[in-house]
Amino acid sequence: MIRDKRSEYLAALILVGPFVVIYGLLFVWPTIQMVMLSFTDAPLIGPGEWVGIENYVEILTHRLFRNATWNTAYFVLLTVVPNTLVSLAIAMAVNRLKGWQQGFVMACFFLPYILPVSVVYLTWNWIIDVQYGLVQYIVRPFNGGEPMSLTRTIPFFMPTVAVVTIWWTLGFNVLLFIAGLRNISPEIYEAASLDSAGRWRQFRKITWPLIWPVTALVLTIQLIAQLKIFDQVYLFSIGGRQDPTIVLVQYIYKLAFQQNKGGEGAAAATLLFAMIIILSVLQYQALRARGEK
């Protein structure tokens, strides 16, 4: 029996070993180091002096940090709820289709999600191109016949990137919604239509409340994902003025990798880290509370 236990421990040790080494070295250690680094004035690579909370004071009074926080929040606002609503509508439309039609439609909506961000960027950068892009056919009539660069005109930058992001990622949400819709038993709808409940009433009284747990999941996953936004925003801002449209991860990147301020970058990263943890806990609690009502 003791021999058995010992061999079980040994097997567990070997099986769990790779996980412990990988997560210890590449997750736990960098996390600790990040917090430590945030209290020093170190450059990106190299040692630094302990400066206490100076980096945090510096960042929190930095206009660019407020810009980055605002822009990130704005991006979240432009993407999370619209994407969820559009995805739910598409999922309901796709769910009533059958056979090849459903497969084809689903593939059309889902394929973009599988593509690398740089492919998405290059494709849309061409579509919105100020000289030859297709979007200019729509833009010109609204802009006095003149073409306009949607990513170089600052007020249009975030909405444009948001639309591209929604196009890119909605397939994922549609997938989750369709699975949720399939879990709603058809008998409930049959009972409702016997009671002559109209489609809108059926949606309000049956679909919406029953799909709510999925909606909450979709909202939470997206909120966390969009707070960490970097790729698209960075790519679309290449060659233009980056500061007015900077987002939080881009701010970390700028401090650490472009200005060689490792300590300040780590402080910004720690703040983002804290924000995401607090928000994800809060939102999860709030959504769950509403779902339980």
């Binding site: 097997a11 099986l15 997750f27 996390t31 680094l37 109209g198």
Partner: protein
């Protein structure tokens, strides 16, 4: 939606008539859905079509939905004038090794968590849970510092290591291993099979479907990842395809056929993987999302 409102049957006598109207409305809704699906896939189509045009045709006025002549000049240019061959090798090697590393370490860890009793189980759970919360984007600075210390920047190992953190895979595996009937393990151990044999001969083969699904989705994720390879590989010889195609953009100026050709080449492997293994990809995504809820 509005056509449905008309068909709302007010009384049972009108319902028969209403049903026929619903069919009509349903057909309209199907057509609208198909239309939206075509709109959703259009940017992808447009990128592919553009890549087969000549540069002069690309900037010609009007919307040509098909190239006047299939022209592979853009592809030839990308193939001979950029390092895309090397980027392909880098992407394939790193994505494959990330996939192998994630699958092996996750399966081992999940088996231990699911089937074995050993000290430190709780700690591992805490670690996995913490990992779900922490944004990897916040760790870029310290991953960079760590890789610099190991002298692994601009190397395959440097690109691979931080991407081995995929906690979802462990949880999905554990859920599946939990559902394997105990008798299988007991029978195997009666026959004198150790834990490794049990894992590799029984648990993994029994869950072959989920292993392939997780492997495909991990590969796609690794192929598509942008931020970390973008930071870790600064030399053109060590870039991955999605990073490379954005970095050399300026080298060929505003020549959209070539940009689209590079985009198609970057997206093709994952698009093909998705189209072949649609069911597996969606299965893996659903399972991973289920864990996050």
């Amino acid at each position: 939606m509005s056509s449905e409102a008309i068909t709302r049957p007010a009384e049972s006598a009108a319902r028969l008539k209403g049903d026929r109207l619903i069919d009509f409305g349903g057909l309209a809704l199907t057509i609208v859905t198909l239309g939206f699906a075509l709109m959703a896939i259009f940017p992808v189509y447009w990128a592919v079509v553009t890549s087969f045009k000549s540069e002069t045709e690309v900037i010609a006025s009007g919307i040509a939905l098909w190239p006047s002549r299939i022209n592979t000049e853009a592809y030839e240019h990308i193939w001979t004038n950029t390092n895309i061959g090397i980027w392909y090798i880098n992407s394939f090697v790193t994505s494959t090794l990330i996939t192998a590393g994630v699958i092996v370490s996750s399966a081992g860890c999940a088996y231990a968590l699911s089937q074995l009793d050993f000290p430190g189980r709780r700690l591992i759970y805490v670690l996995i849970l913490a990992c779900f919360m922490v944004p990897m984007q916040a760790l870029i600075i310290n991953h960079f510092v760590l890789m610099a210390q190991f002298k692994l920047l601009n190397s395959w190992a440097g690109i691979i290591l931080p991407q081995l953190i995929v906690p979802v895979t462990i949880i999905v595996y554990k859920q599946f291993f939990d559902n394997v009937p105990r008798e299988f393990r007991e029978a195997a151990q009666m026959d004198g099979a150790g834990h490794f044999k049990t894992l590799f001969r029984i648990y993994l083969p029994m869950n072959w479907g989920i292993t392939s699904a997780l492997a495909i989705i991990t590969f796609i994720g690794a192929w598509n990842s942008f931020l970390w390879p973008f930071l870790a590989a600064t030399g053109e010889a060590t870039m991955t395809v999605p990073v490379g195609i954005t970095q050399v953009k300026d080298a060929y100026g505003i020549v959209y056929a070539r940009q689209m050709a590079s985009a198609v080449m970057a997206g093709l492997p994952v698009a093909v993987l998705y189209l072949i293994f649609q069911r597996r990809v969606t299965q893996a995504i659903m399972l991973s999302a289920g864990v996050k809820g």
